[in-house]
Assembly symmetry: C2
Homo-oligomer: 454 residues x 2
């Protein structure tokens, strides 16, 4: 009998009642968002034309360490949280490693990922403000599904611009969102000025998150009673996602376990930022030390090959500018089945931490990621999302290093979701049709050349 | 603050260590299986040519009340169990009912259903016997997925005959099974003599569970080192699935809650039989009383319109005969999106209980089921499987009756799984293309006319 259970669930009474705002403990704060019109730090008023008022407050607040989770949000959290902290005994045995591997599994809800943690909060604040509906973009479809569920719960309209390549790869995602009453549009679309412009310049494009963001923001501005909501990148999203790390840390504390290394996949940073928040907080306050590792796709390597610079978050350049690791807002990544990791930029908070040497990053190739995904599925049972499988790949590599060195390191990684709507990607892997895409230096240089001069 | 949490999980130490064999407490035992060659009660030796030895023992044992769950199976259970017992606060509020609604949710694993509970047990016994692989059939694909996962875990080959209509409606299910290393064949196929015969007699048929069973049994008999395994109907399956009811009852006991009414969908009976087992045990022993309600599709109404008679479990008539409520093994149900409920017969144990007045049954129509499914998804979050949604439909009806009468009944239902691979069905519902199929009396009479004379 193992003293550590396979799965640890917190009791309802142990669930976090406050989110943790990592920025409050950072000495070097993330640089402020800039207004695209003035290139000066953006005002709450200007942001309020795009986002809900309370979310604007959260976005700009870099000093309050803990922010209450509203009761209605906590009640909804109880329908799908706590998520389990899993001891990967079967993976450890399969790898024959002395490493101890844990993962926080966020895929046990119908959105299939951690995205619901922020979606329900954002929908709540929109409802509280008396709004009629929200617009958003979605890449892999996980965020769009999460938002559809949240909007159905609070009785809000929901319009989702879905990256075209995902829309086509994942027809069933659309149907899930429809079950929750959302309307779903493939992006770029002819609905918006920015969509029409992108289609003219790049006919036949599969779209990108940056482009879908532009469309959703434009649509929100043109429909009365609507605001725009975003599933990653922003500080407010990392704040809501801190529930992942807070729960994981509380469960580990209960078990008397301290991780040496924490691994998460990184697209815009929502999962990674949420998972590491309380751990990095301890690190910033000098209370403990942890190695933090971000894993991104080699096809869209913002951290490992990007520039730390001010850039637009969207392709249409109508959103505020953020200082972040970026490949340039004009960079359109090659098709990659991890739709959720196809963003040219990165959370400004994570970018600052990376810049300050508080975390590391690596890029991994797609076929290696699916190899790890299948290996994981067969021994641990769960069929993982391609995005999450980036973290699996890195965790396996680290565990194999422990096998070589004989070190008994404790590894925690974020298993952000399930791959049930990614079976086309798995099929292309099984059929040997999957290839790796690595942008050339010349391709990256093009993106960098188009960075705004700030 | 509600005193009953939204979700109740047992601790690992509270998980059942033994399955409960309901038959041991039945005064009127289910009638014995008959050998198709002799029409006499089948011997262990004859059954052993089709099934693993230990599973034959379990199949024939109607007197041992508790059977140990092997340690390896318990260890695997820990990777996806306990499943949560959920208090449906949001559904209660939405219906404005005084009823208290609970559901045992079995969909939080990659097979998407309760099927894994028996799959892992059957794979374990096959491995212990030194077999090379197993064959099976699958309807909705849930059982095939579960068995693929279980075989991957124990390193067994797995060959799945998938009902053709499901194979076509659910291309991604095939890919999931492939991820776990299984080979998947649409049934009826040209692989087997029985498949060729059925294709000749019914060209263009979408297949049926009864037909896929025949093919899988024939294939198992013809490949050395293989046996056949089945995901429902059999006593051994109900035995393994008793883990659902044992966990549900343990959680309810912890909360101090006694259900008045227990509802489950019924195809072959695996979920319903497992869920109700310990409750019916108390009822049989005179310790407590519960109302038990089986819900079946109006398109395949074994309980409500079938005959209680000896019949073949398969279309090819090569399997043992079971005394059960049946529509006749020649009955091929009209296409229905609940692939898991398209079986002409029913568990002999549940049939005996129904015959003895220990449980009730109703049949519901497909569009009403999907209406309930969507309603449930929007308020409870989880997107349910069509099969499970039969139980949801009935639970909502009963809760609304409580609203009329003012009764504060406690309802427990089985939410067997998720509908993530059923989005074609949801699409046809959303598009208004879904229709209801109710067999005519003349159609049923044809099936009854072909019942074997025993």
């Amino acid at each position: 009998m193992n003293s550590i259970p396979y799965k640890t669930y917190l009791d309802e009474a142990e669930l976090p009642t406050q989110w943790y705002n990592l920025r409050a403990d950072m000495k070097n704060k993330p640089a402020p968002l800039l207004d695209p019109a003035t290139l000066q730090p953006i005002t709450a008023q200007a942001l309020g034309r795009v986002f809900c008022d309370e979310l604007v407050r959260q976005e700009l607040d870099d000093s309050t360490p803990y922010i209450d989770i509203p009761q209605a949000v906590r009640d909804y959290y109880k329908t799908f949280r706590p998520s389990p902290l899993v001891r990967a005994y079967n993976l450890e045995k399969h790898l024959n490693t002395p490493a101890k591997i844990y993962y926080k599994f966020e895929g046990s809800n119908t959105s299939g990922s951690h995205k619901l943690n922020s979606a329900i909060a954002q929908a709540y604040y929109a409802k509280e403000q008396g709004l009629k509906g929200v617009t958003t973009e979605t890449g892999a479809g996980q965020w769009g599904t999460a938002l559809s569920m949240a909007c159905a719960y609070f009785g809000l309209d929901c319009k989702v611009y879905m990256v075209k390549v995902s829309y086509e790869q994942k027809p069933f995602r659309r149907e899930v969102m429809r079950t929750y009453g959302a309307s779903v549009v493939p992006s770029p679309s002819m609905d918006t000025a920015v969509g029409r412009k992108i289609l003219q310049e790049h006919p036949g494009t599969g779209g990108s998150l940056g482009c879908a963001i532009s469309e959703a923001v434009e649509a929100a501005s043109s429909i009365p009673g609507y605001r725009y909501v975003l599933g990653s990148v922003l500080n407010q999203v990392l704040l809501h996602q801190s529930v992942i790390g807070l729960e994981a840390k509380a469960a580990l504390d209960k078990l008397g376990v301290k991780p040496d290394l924490i691994i998460g996949c990184a697209g815009g940073g929502s999962n990674l930022g949420g998972l590491i928040a309380p751990f990095v907080g301890e690190k910033l306050r000098g209370e403990a030390d942890y190695r933090i590792l971000a894993v991104e796709p080699a096809s869209c390597p913002s951290f490992t090959r990007g520039k730390f610079a001010y850039d637009f978050c969207d392709t249409g350049n109508i959103c505020p500018l953020s200082k972040m690791y970026t490949l340039g807002s004009s960079f359109i990544p090659a098709p990659n089945h991890s739709g959720g990791l196809r963003f040219h930029g990165m959370s400004s908070t994570l970018s600052q931490l990376y810049h300050d040497g508080l975390m590391e990053a690596i890029a991994v190739e797609q076929t290696a990621v699916f190899q790890a995904a299948e290996e994981f599925a067969r021994v641990e049972g769960i069929l993982p999302a391609p995005e999450s499988s980036h973290a699996i790949r890195a965790a396996i590599q680290e565990a194999l290093r422990c096998k070589e060195s004989g070190e008994e390191k404790t590894i925690l990684f974020g298993l952000t979701g399930t791959g049930y709507f990614d079976m086309y990607a798995y099929e292309s892997f099984h059929d040997g049709r999957m290839t790796d895409y690595i942008p050339t230096d010349a391709e990256l240089a093009q993106g960098f050349a188009a960075l705004p001069k700030v």
